[in-house]
Amino acid sequence: MSGTGKTRSKGANGWLLSAPALILLLLAASGPLVIVVIYSVLAKGDYSGVRWILSGDAWFRVLFEKDIFDGTVSLADANLSIFWRSVKLSLATTLITFVLGLPTAWFIGTRPKTTRALWLFLITIPFWTNLLIRTFAIMEVIRNQGLLNTLLIKIGLISAPIQILYTDTAVLIGMTYVYLPLMVLPLFAAIDRFDFKLIEAGYDLYASRWQILRGVILPIIKPGIVAGCILVFIPSLGAYVTPRVLGGGKNMMIGNFIELQFGQGQNWPLGAALSTMLLLIVLVSLVVYTRASTRGGPHG
């Protein structure tokens, strides 16, 4: 009993000692967030900024729109479709980076220790360049007179350039390229810890290659898969540069739409409400996803 008391007082002391750091962290992390949430329930300023009047206007406009002529209220199709596109594109990015990332991570994980570092280094090289420059590089590749179209025409697969730039496909290609390392690294970390003898054990016990992948490898590296998917999905959802450059003006994602409200739109409360909405989507998907991926207990 006395032991428990002792550790508790020691624990309390510990808390007290780390209080300055905790307070700083709390303010730095949640301060801006709180401001965003507060702004979302204020009224719009005349040109920009906010007026300190409580107002549900911004939140109303996230979901609904009022016809300026007859005042009828309907769902804000335009906003919702931007949200929906963002979620769709982010899910697609996550899926594609997983499908590409798993073999890549497996390849690196099965290299001898000596060359492994080199492969990891190569994977992280894109991180060294500015995102904007990388995105423009992709633009060079996929534009109508770009590398890809020229090549396809040269080998006779197509006769006229296909329009990729300024489409969802372009955004998808860009985001896949940008976020692939974020998928590969956690997958590699999981594969690195994987005991390859287990594959032999499965193969010895009459499992086919497919059954080994599904019943042994995937469940064991699941923590890496979960981490990779979260690391790719969340920044994809809030992506700004890639859809801006590769999607052109009309293929907006949430990030661009939010930027619009703070810039040209001069509607800070709406921007803040949209940001809060984005945060809620992320939180809900995280909860749903982690629930789903930890369910079932010890089972393939």
Binding site: D195, K197, L198, E200, A201, G202, Y203, D204, L205, Y206, A207, S208, Q211, G215, V216, P219, I220, P298, H299, G300
Partner: protein
């Protein structure tokens, strides 16, 4: 083909790598393993035991030669189509599956209905006395329990041959002894052919029906433990199995003239010139000075029931003798003694 053989390895060789860096792990190994026997592959580290086992399991394809399972060529059959299971040295249990799911894995992959799998899992878990641990995860078990799960998992699909690659090497001595008799019991109860790999000669001698002694990718001798121990075919086997004294000498009339000049009576069968005599420590009798070969005790080690005496002969060559501690003789270091050998027990090896 002889069908009383579970496994036949015919002229199997395995060369890893190519060119200057090629390693010959197995060189032309031929062996027949009988149905239902407990066969042990014994040899020092790197002699190719694991390689031979992996060729039988299907994880490696021999560079040349064939592997037969009950007369059927399985050299190129993948592991998941061979009715042969392996108990891995590191156990290789699936960490995300419960004990019961681990044990049922093979049956499930064979497409057995769930009810049958459950029933078999229960039966095999009872066999290894782990009924109460069915729902635990492998990391919640002790090393010895994990070992039993690995055994149960490999036994559950009722393989025709069970391969065990140093399964006991990770266990402490007491547990090891326990598992040795446990393995023996399981083998007798199931009647499955066991091929067991170890580099521990004592383990091999106590457990096996037959032993194959390997060295540098080749089989030196195959036979029952007693035969291998009593009649080793060469110096390597004699040295590897149990403790052995070697005496080199020249055949002289009916005996052997050893370095000290003494002539020892040995059962020669036609050997001439230089031969090697292998004498087990327990086959050396220490008597009073004047009998047999003159020697002097230079060291003694008390080992409980036995005492080891190191004796020096006239030419300063040394022998180790093992004498039962309660045999009455009170000997001490410095004593002059006479050494005699049990002529029937000593082995004359071709050098």
């Amino acid at each position: 083909m002889k069908t009383d053989h579970a496994i036949d390895a015919c002229n199997v060789s395995k060369i890893y790598g190519a060119g200057a860096r090629a390693v010959t792990a197995l060189g032309d190994v031929s062996i027949g393993i009988k149905q239902g026997e407990f066969f042990t592959l014994l040899g020092p580290s790197g002699c190719g035991k694991t390689t031979l086992l992996r060729c039988i399991a299907g994880f490696e394809t021999p560079t040349s030669g064939t592997i037969l399972l009950f007369g059927r060529d399985i050299t190129h059959t993948p592991p998941n189509q061979r009715p042969v299971n392996t108990v891995f040295q590191s156990y290789a249990l699936f960490p995300h599956l419960s004990v019961a799911q681990n044990v049922g894995f093979g049956l499930k992959m064979q497409g057995k209905p769930a009810a049958e799998v459950a029933q078999e899992v229960e039966r095999v878990l009872a066999l290894v006395k782990l009924e109460d641990f069915a729902d635990r995860l492998p990391q919640q078990l002790s090393g010895g329990q994990q070992q039993r799960v690995a055994l149960a998992r490999a036994l559950a699909p009722k393989p025709e041959v069970l391969l065990l690659d140093e399964p006991l090497s990770a266990l402490d001595l007491k547990l090891r002894k326990e598992m040795q008799s446990e393995l023996k019991r399981l083998q007798t109860e199931t009647g499955i052919t066991f091929i067991f790999v170890t580099h521990d000669q004592e383990e091999a001698l106590t457990m096996s029906d037959r032993i194959g002694v390997m060295s540098a990718g080749a089989l030196m001798q195959v036979g029952p433990p007693r035969e291998i121990y009593d009649h080793p075919v060469n110096r390597f086997v004699a040295d590897f199995i149990g403790e052995t004294n070697f005496l080199v000498g020249q055949v002289d009339g009916q005996g052997l003239r050893i370095g000290s000049g003494d002539v020892i009576a040995v059962p020669l069968n036609g050997q001439t010139g230089e031969v090697t005599l292998a004498v087990r420590p327990e086959q050396i009798n220490i008597g009073p000075a004047g009998t047999g070969v003159a020697a002097k005790i230079i060291d003694m080690t008390y080992l409980g029931t036995d005492t080891h005496y190191t004796v020096a002969l006239g030419d300063a060559s040394t022998l180790v003798a093992r004498v039962q501690s309660n045999s009455g003789a009170s000997l001490s270091v410095g004593d002059s003694v006479g050494i005699t050998f049990d002529a029937k027990a000593v082995q004359v090896l071709a050098s």
